[in-house]
């Protein structure tokens, strides 16, 4: 892995970390009114994949989608603006935190009903196959998602049609508040099910950006070459609550601390320094990101809230919502 890639990974990790923290601060300031689901602790999955993707590849993610949307290059002000219900939001406040989308950057939507986007991601991959492009579709979801019907249908279809899609399970150990192991028949909710679709079992350390990136490159390369889908399970942990309102009290004592020792941003920084990359270069990135997030925050705050005139817009392609003549 070359230096540029490593720095790109680090930058992405830091961007997500700082932006997610900012989102939380803004919630505490009552500037983010709705819910929000942060990826603190899970940054390496988003960064590792996004850096391995081509500009015209597709990302599909869940309500826990700030990280993935940002990692594909969506503007910070658009993300924060959306959380705050502002005109400058990626969707002008109509979608909210759970539905971040930036088609321009290949971020094809954040989906808030568990499992729904897996078939959709398969469909985008099918489209690439039919159109004869070599685009790849990457679909992120949680451990809890592996127990819903749509998971099964999407995996089977993708395998049968050999679709260029990577299904990435971010196993952060919990659904909302219930530990995944209490409601799942196998120990590794995604990896142990690859067998059901004739796929290879891929279980990786989701807190190691290099490991994720390498896996991403392999799976994406295979998909692009017509080798069909992959199912990846990345082990990780969300170090904040499920959503903004959750203090995470259901966690056994010590669990969070253990995982904080494996903080993906810290780990990666230590590794880069250990490899001889100058602290300065890293600090430049950190400062630049802080600045960018600050600027985006100010810009979003300065932006007016979305006006009621958009309520009846954009149901249809003609821009309106009329259902009669």
């Amino acid at each position: 892995m070359d230096r540029a890639t490593r720095l790109a990974l680090y930058r992405s990790l830091v961007e997500i970390r700082v932006l997610e923290k900012r989102a939380y601060d803004l919630f505490l300031q009552n500037l983010v009114k709705g819910t929000s689901h942060l990826s603190l602790g899970q940054e390496a999955v988003a960064a590792g994949f996004a850096v391995a993707m081509r500009k015209d590849d597709y990302t599909f993610c869940t309500y826990r989608g700030h990280a993935h949307t940002l990692a594909r290059g969506a503007p910070m002000v658009g993300v924060l603006g959306e959380l705050m219900g502002r005109k400058c939001g990626l969707m002008g406040g109509k979608g909210g935190s759970m539905h971040l989308t930036s088609v321009e950057h290949g971020a094809m939507g954040s989906y808030a009903i568990v499992g729904a986007h897996l078939p959709v991601a398969a469909g985008a991959a099918w489209s690439a196959q039919v159109r004869g492009t070599d685009q790849v579709s990457v679909c992120f979801f949680g451990d809890g998602t592996t127990n819903i019907g749509a998971f099964h249908e999407a995996l089977n279809l993708a395998a049968v049609w050999k679709l260029p899609v990577i299904f990435v399970c971010e196993n952060n150990q919990y659904m909302e508040y219930t530990p995944i192991r209490e409601v799942t028949a196998v120990a590794n909710p995604a990896a142990d099910r690859a067998c059901a679709y004739g796929l290879e079992k891929i279980l990786i350390d989701g807190n190691d950006a290099d490991v994720v990136h390498r896996t991403a490159r392999e799976c994406i390369g295979k998909a692009r070459d017509g080798g069909g889908p992959s199912l990846v399970e990345a082990l990780t942990y969300r170090t904040s609550g499920h959503s903004r309102a959750d203090p995470g009290k259901y966690r056994p004592v010590g669990e969070l601390d253990d995982w904080l020792k494996k903080d993906p941003v810290v780990l990666y920084r230590v590794r880069l320094v250990g490899m001889g990359i100058e602290e300065n270069a890293l600090r430049d990135i950190e400062r630049a990101v802080e600045r960018a997030v600050d600027e985006a925050t100010e810009a979003a705050k300065a932006c007016p809230p979305s006006g009621v005139e958009v309520i009846e817009k954009d149901v249809w392609a003609d821009g309106g919502s009329s259902w009669r003549n």
Binding site: V103, M108, P119, V120, A121, V130, S137, E153, L157, W323
Partner: protein, 325 residues
Amino acid sequence: MAELTYRDAVAAGIAQEMARDESVVFLGEDIGAAGGVFKTTLGLLERFGPRRVRDTPISEQAIIGAAMGAAMTGLRPIAEIMFSDFFAVCWDMIANEIAKTRYMTAGQIALPLVIRTANGYGSRFGAQHSQSVENWAMAIPGLKVVAPSTPLDVKGLLAAAVRDPDPVIFFEHKGLYSTKGEVPDGEIVDRLGTAKVVRQGEDVTIVALAAMVPKSLQAAERLAAEDGISATVVDVRSLVPLDTKTIFEEVRKTGRLYTVEENPRLCGWGAEIASLVAEECFYDLDGPIVRITTPHVPLPAADLLEDNAVPTVDRIVETVRRNAG
């Protein structure tokens, strides 16, 4: 000019559009090699090949999800759901994902797709294979909803649906598949959102949909012959957009409105039309608005029971006779 069955008009409509536009693809269960369980899609696989015509597993969520993913990335899919009752197994994909995505993304994602399905009573299949669920779709903002009653309308409205930039739910009526009608040669493209006055009368206005249109016409003939009651019959054709103009005009002329609905009573499409008329044509009404529907029960299987559960010609005649007095 050729005489086509309603069934053949489906394949004709799909073929017309697939021949015209390379981006039109078609997927569903048993639609390819088998030509559809209702034989509505015979010959399409042979003509357009397996790249564009795909048999799927029994995975309705994957079918609709695949159509959605394909539609947002450059294709114009037509998905078949074998029976409209099965909308229930993929309702999230239809009602929560497809219907809402353009709106939530403030227009970033377009979903030009058609979901075709066999709807309605008449095959003695019982309660899980005979429903009329046009109102399920009508209730969801973001879906256009069409239900033709003749071969000509099938072909023309199907073409219009495929060309429409928004998601269209296309209800074919199982009980009409073997009916015949003239269909001019050459390209046919109709317009969504337009009702048709299929009989002009003076005393009462009957609005009907799909299989209830021929029944209403028969009832109108009997009312004319037996009671001297002259009935207008409007074939609604398109529930969303709804041609309120034509409906209101015809109601205003006669001062009396009857709806004939195959759906069970509560929240049927006729309730919506009745409420619109009761609001906007109130002062033009000469008497109560009367809805003739299937009682609010699931459909029974036995032929005698099924035929008498849905509105019969007799019931339409008697209801109008009793009320129009």
